[in-house]
Symmetry: C2
Subunit: 401 residues, 2 copies
C-alpha cells in the first residue's frame, strides 16, 4: 500500500484527536482510503516534550506548504486567522484541506471551494457543523433530489446541556453554567456558546448549503439563552414543550428566514427529545418530508472522526474535485421582522385582561408562579408582536416552533 503524507495544523483538542483517531483505527482507515495515511508534520506554536508528536512538530507553516509530499492539510486551529491564510496557501499549493473550523467556513467557504475546484483538489468541512454527525456530506451527496425548505438544528452542545440540566434538575442558568464550566463542558468565557454565536456560524453554513449561495452569518438574527430562567422551564413543562436553542433556516412563500433563538419545541417534534450534549439537525424536504441527523456535536474524538473521514475522502480523490455547490453570490434573506410565529409570554396576573385586549385570542397557561400568568399567542409577525408586546409589562417571551 502506497503512503500519503498529511499535515495537521494545531495540536489542541481536535488536532490531538485527529492523531488519536488515525492511530486507533489505522488499519480500517488505511484500507478504506486505499493508502497508508501518515502524519508527517504537526504545526503548533507550543512544544510537546515527551509526546511522540514532538518529532513531527514544526512552528513554520512554510515547511508544510513547500513540501510536495504533503497531499492533505488538516486545519483545526479555529478562528479566521491565521487559518484562512494557511488554508488558502495550502489549496493554492495543490493540496486538499479538511477543516473543523466553522468561523473559517462561514466566512470564506465559497472562495476556498472555488480555489479547491480550480486546483482539482478538495476543501472539506464535515466537522464544522454538528461535530461527529454526518450532515455536510449528506447535504451535498444524499439529499440531492430534494427541495429543502427547512433546516433546524440544535447545533451547540453547551447550551443544550445547560437547558437539559435546567429542565431535569430544576436548577437555574447560573448554577448550571458554573457546573458546566467546572466539568469542561463550557468555556471560561462562555459567550460564543450561550449567546448563540457558535450556532449562528453553523446555521449560516447549513443555510448556504441549502440555497447554494452565501448566507452571511452577520445577517442572522441571534439570541442566546442567558435570559432563560427556571420559571420558563416550569411553563415549558405545562405546555408539554422543551426549551431548545434552535438555529433555524426556513423558507416561507419563497423567502428564507434564518435565526438563532430559544424555542419552545413541541413534544411530537423530533428535536424535542435531543438532550444533554447531543446535537441534531432536522431537515424538511418537499419529497422526503421530515428527517433528522443526531449525534455528538462536539468533543475531541467525534469531531476528529469527522475530520478524518474528510481526510479519507480527500486521499481517495487526489486530483479529482468533488463538486460542492456553494457560490459566493450573496443570498437575499427575508427580514426577520416579517417572519411569523406564535409566542409564549409571561406577564403579571393583573395584566391578563389587557393582554386579551391587545392580542385577541390567547391561550393562558398557569405554572404556579406567584403573581404572574403565561399565555400563548396565535401566529403573528415578529414586528407586529413587538409592537403589541410593548403595551404590556412583559416578563418574558419565547418563540414556539
Amino acid at each position: 500500500m502506497s503512503k500519503v503524507d498529511i499535515a495537521v495544523l494545531g495540536y489542541g483538542t481536535v488536532g490531538s484527536g485527529v492523531v488519536e483517531v488515525l492511530n486507533t483505527n489505522r488499519e480500517k482507515i488505511n484500507r478504506r482510503a486505499g493508502k497508508d495515511i501518515h502524519v508527517k508534520y504537526v504545526l503548533d506554536l507550543r512544544e510537546f516534550p515527551g509526546d511522540p508528536i514532538q518529532e513531527k512538530l514544526v512552528h513554520d507553516f512554510d515547511i508544510i506548504v513547500n513540501d510536495p509530499d504533503v497531499k492533505v492539510v488538516v486545519e483545526v486551529l479555529g478562528g479566521v486567522e491565521p487559518a484562512y491564510t494557511f488554508v488558502k496557501k495550502a489549496l493554492l499549493a495543490g493540496k486538499s484541506v479538511a477543516t473543523s473550523n466553522k468561523e473559517l467556513v462561514a466566512k470564506h467557504g465559497p472562495e476556498l471551494l472555488k480555489i479547491a475546484k480550480e486546483q482539482k483538489q478538495n476543501f472539506f468541512y464535515e466537522a464544522s457543523v454538528g461535530g461527529g454527525i454526518p450532515i455536510i456530506r449528506p447535504m451535498f451527496s444524499c439529499l440531492t433530489a430534494e427541495d429543502i425548505d427547512e433546516v433546524s438544528g440544535i447545533l451547540n452542545g453547551t447550551t443544550n446541556y445547560i437547558l437539559s440540566k435546567m429542565t431535569f434538575e430544576r436548577l437555574d442558568f447560573d448554577t448550571v453554567l458554573k457546573e458546566a464550566q467546572e466539568k469542561g463542558y463550557a468555556e471560561r468565557n462562555p459567550e460564543a456558546d450561550v449567546e448563540g454565536y457558535d450556532a449562528c456560524r453553523k446555521i449560516a453554513i447549513l443555510s448556504s448549503m441549502v440555497c447554494e449561495k452565501q448566507v452571511e452569518f452577520e445577517s442572522i438574527y441571534t439570541e442566546g439563552i442567558t435570559k432563560i430562567t427556571s420559571e420558563d422551564i416550569l411553563y415549558a413543562k405545562k405546555l408539554n414543550r422543551a426549551i431548545k436553542l434552535l438555529a433555524r433556516s426556513k423558507m416561507v412563500n419563497g423567502v428564507t428566514y434564518a435565526m438563532v433563538a430559544p424555542f419552545l419545541v413541541a413534544e411530537d417534534h423530533p428535536l424535542y427529545s435531543v438532550n444533554g450534549v447531543f446535537n441534531a439537525i432536522f431537515v424538511h424536504g418537499n419529497m422526503l418530508g421530515d428527517a433528522m441527523f443526531y449525534g455528538r456535536g462536539a468533543g475531541k474524538l467525534p469531531t476528529a472522526s469527522a475530520v478524518v473521514a474528510d481526510v479519507i475522502d480527500a486521499v481517495k480523490h487526489l486530483g479529482i474535485n468533488i463538486q460542492i455547490r456553494w457560490s459566493g453570490e450573496k443570498m437575499e434573506m427575508g427580514d426577520i421582522n416579517d417572519s411569523v410565529c406564535a409566542f409564549f409570554v409571561r406577564i403579571p396576573t393583573a395584566s391578563l385582561s389587557k393582554a386579551e385586549k391587545v392580542f385577541g385570542k390567547i391561550r393562558t397557561v398557569d405554572a404556579g408562579v406567584k403573581g404572574e400568568i403565561g399565555f400563548v399567542t396565535e401566529p403573528v409577525k415578529e414586528s407586529e408582536f413587538a409592537r403589541l408586546a410593548a403595551e404590556l409589562p412583559m416578563i418574558q417571551r419565547i418563540r414556539l416552533n
Copy 2:
C-alpha cells in the same frame, strides 16, 4: 446542458414516485447532476392509458439493455427475479443501476457491486434500507474513520406504526393491523412486515456494510410482533420503556450477533421516541459514540427521493466507479444462543417464588394485569434463558435493549 437518458424498471408505487420526483424538482436535480436527466423508457407489463408515461412504456427489457443511450437503469420492481437478471444485464451492458430492492441487494449485493466495478459504473442502493433516510451513503462515505460496533434500526414502518398505535391508543394488535391495512400502511398479506422478514433483509444489508463482508439474511434470527399484546404495552409503560421491533447487528468481544425481534427500549435511548411510520438507524462507533439517522422509511416520494439521489450520483460518475467495500466472502456470525441480554417475563402470580428460585436476582413489575406478574432478569445468555424459562409457565418474554 447535455442530456442523459435513463430507464425505470417498474411503474408501481416507487417507480411512479421516481418519475414524480424527477418532474417536481427537475431544475434543482439537473443542476446538481450537471445533466438533463430524461426518462426514455419505463418497463412494466401493464398499460397505463391516459398517463403521460404510456408513450415511454415498453414491455421488453431488451429494448432498454440494447439502447446505448440509456446510461442509468432504475430498478424498482422488488423481489429477486426478474430484478436480478435485469440488473446484471444492465451492468454488464455498461449501465449504472440504482435500486430500492432490499431482497435483491441482500441476496446479490456483492456480485452486483463487483460487476459495476469491473464495468467502471455504479450499483447504488440507498433506498433499499430506511427509504428516504440517507444511511447507505453515510455508511460508506461519512463514517469511514469509525470502527462501528453496533447498528440497530427501526427499519419497518408498518410494524412501528402498529406498535405506536397499540401504545398510544391502547388497542390490540389485530385491531390496529386491520386499520393499517384499510389505510394502506400494511399489505393485505402483512407477513413480510409483521414477521420481521423485511427488517431482516435490511439489517443484513447494514451489517454487511459494517463488516464489508456478506451477512446472509437467512442466518439472522428473526422474530416478529404478532405475539405482542396490549398487556405487554402496559408493562412497557410501567418500565418506562417502549416496545420496538429492532433489527440489530452488534459486536461483542469481537463476535457479531444479528437479530430481529421486539425489544423493550429504554427511555433514554434515541430510538425510544421514534414513533409511527418513521424509521431510524442508530449507529455506535468507537470514536463517534452514539449517532442516529431518522426519517421516513417508506412511502412513494421519500423512497423515490433516495432513488433519484442515486441516479444523480450515477450521472455525475458515468465511467467512474465509486468504491463500496462489500465482498462476497461470507461473514462468520456469532451463534445467537451465545448472545446476552436481560429479559422481561410475564408469569402467573403463583409462580413468582419459583421464578425467584430459577432466575435468582429479578426485579418484579406489576402492571395491574389480573392473575399475573412481570419481572426483569439480569443479563443472561439466550441459551441459558431458554433453559431456565422452560421451568416456568411463561406467558410472555421480551428482550431489553
